[in-house]
Amino acid sequence: MKLRAIALNTFSSLLRNKIIIVFCAGCVCVLLLMLTPLLVLRNGRGAQNAEMMQMAVLPLIASMMQFISGFGSLLAAWAAADAVAGEMRSGTILAMLARPVRRWEFLLGKFLGVQLMMFVFVLIMLGLNYLLAWIGGASIQTNPWVLIVYPMVRYMIYSALGILLVTVMHPILAFCIVLVTMIGAGLVAPGNAETFMPDWLRTGLFYVFPSSNLLSETRFLTITRATLRAAVWTDHAIALVYGLDYALVCFLLAAWIFRSRSLSRD
């Protein structure tokens, strides 16, 4: 009951969070701008346009989905960091922790509240996937659960990382570190052609940073039957367990640090 109360309260707070609203509004604006060429192409008729459509639509949809997905990771990190820091900033944490609520329960409630918001985000993203495919004249062949579970696990990692960092630092700094981590994880991913860093550093960072690529649902996002990639259930299990494990470690570290942190109105 306590966890549910904290999670729902966090969810309600996040829906009213001005920074998150501005964040989301910015994302929608960028998406609409990206949508314009797609709509122009769809509007055109004739054989030449159909060819262009084939060539442009899939990369465009892929880049849009990558953008939304990356935005979701940042949103998860910021929401989690701000959910905890906001309670300290306003002083509401004092009244909450004066109740028989353990500190880890407070953090877990916050974490679950953020996951609730991210679940809504993922559902919107799923709808958008289908909408974009429809606009592009294609259809999505991937099983929907992949498009829901993979981003959710990735967002769990980033929100747990956000919570971990905010237990020791300012949320803006925590957000910046998450951003750097995200970029770093992309750079050191095995498929990336960038080779400006030595192998030992790249390998080391690969193990430290969350492997977003492994947990990217775009690996499985197949728009046409021709590009369908099969994945056995063990692939899914390993990737998801890896993601959950990373999130769990971050969360446990956060709970451990938070249990001995002095709490006051910041």
Binding site: M1, K2, R4, A5, I6, N9, S12, S13, R16, S90, G91, T92, L94, A95, M96, L97, A98, R99, P100, V101, R102, S260, S262, L263, S264, R265
Partner: protein
């Protein structure tokens, strides 16, 4: 009866990260608070009151020493279940209404809010917030926020109520209502640990007083004893012969009153003074200890050079 709150040689030192700079917020503070009493925790700004209350609630951790609440360490779930808390400058989720906030806190306390309609209505009535059930807390005045804070502190019928500046932000009528509420809670046998700057009000309800200054405890004891101790005694006699006025009562304040003469002497010299009057054949009509006010006592202790006991 075991103490509800125990501080045993509690010291809290704040250290700045990456610096040798240290600030002792509390130094070797020890006290016990028996159940069923109202204890006023007093001190000037920066004396260490909020630090003490934060440690009592388990928000901060003492550098050394031991704190017990109902015999348990601060932050213990069993102790928290019996405790209601109003922090200084209380803040709430502004998007909630008062009933929703109280329901949320009931859930945090592990109770089912489904059948709490009457309880919530009673509490809102108690703090005079009935009629504002649909108004979001973000639109409340400072005094209304303080009232809802008091309501949430009383929510789960706690045995111990910790109030940090409960009357700040309230108008005189609001302060009087809070005092009446505290008096009612005291009559119900609740233990109240109260920090306040409004000393005349504290004096009306407190049984026990703890004064701290610069992190050190400078005075502690029953309010009656503290106010009576160290004061003066008023003696009214039918007359005071001139030889006594120049002798035993030299330097004392003498004035004529309807019954005779009124003399103010130091409490420590009252026996000597009365015996001298009797020996001179005078009739002692009345002898009344002169009480300090809490404010006088507080200012005396806080202004004393050196500060601590």
């Amino acid at each position: 009866m075991s103490a509800v709150i125990e501080f045993q040689h509690v010291t809290k030192i704040y250290k700045r990260m990456f610096s040798e700079e240290k600030l002792a917020a509390l130094s070797d503070v020890s006290f016990e608070m028996p159940p069923g009493q109202v204890c006023a925790f007093l001190g000037p700004n920066g004396a260490g009151k909020t630090t003490s209350i934060s440690m009592l609630m388990g928000f901060f951790f003492p550098t050394s020493g031991k704190i017990r609440v109902f015999g348990k360490p601060p932050g213990d779930m069993l102790a928290k279940e019996q405790l209601g808390f109003l922090p200084e400058n209380f803040a709430f989720h502004k998007f909630l209404t008062a009933p929703k906030l109280l329901r949320f806190h009931l859930q945090l306390a592990g109770r089912n809010p489904a059948n709490a309609g009457n309880l919530i209505a009673d509490l809102l009535n108690k703090v005079k917030l009935n009629g504002y059930e649909n108004l979001k807390i973000g639109r409340y005045s400072r005094g209304m926020v303080q009232r809802i804070g008091i309501a949430q502190a009383l929510l789960c019928d706690p045995k111990l109520i910790v109030l940090d500046e409960p009357t700040s932000g309230l108008d005189p009528a609001g302060r009087r209502e809070v005092l009446q509420l505290l008096a009612q809670l005291k009559a119900e046998g609740k233990t109240i640990f109260l920090s306040s700057h409004i000393l005349p009000e504290v004096e009306q309800i407190a049984d026990h007083v703890i004064i701290i200054n610069r992190g050190k405890m400078v005075r502690s004891g029953r309010l009656q004893d503290l106010l009576a101790s160290g004061g003066q005694v008023e003696i009214v006699a039918d007359r005071v012969p001139p030889e006594l006025a120049q002798g035993v009562f030299r330097g004392a304040l003498l004035e004529s009153v309807q019954q005779g003469v009124r003399v103010l002497v130091e409490a420590a010299r009252k026996r000597e003074a009365v015996e001298a009057l009797w020996a001179a054949g005078c009739d002692v009509i009345a002898m009344t200890p002169q009480r300090n006010t809490l404010e006088e006592l507080f200012l005396k202790e806080v202004d004393r050079p050196g500060g601590a006991q």
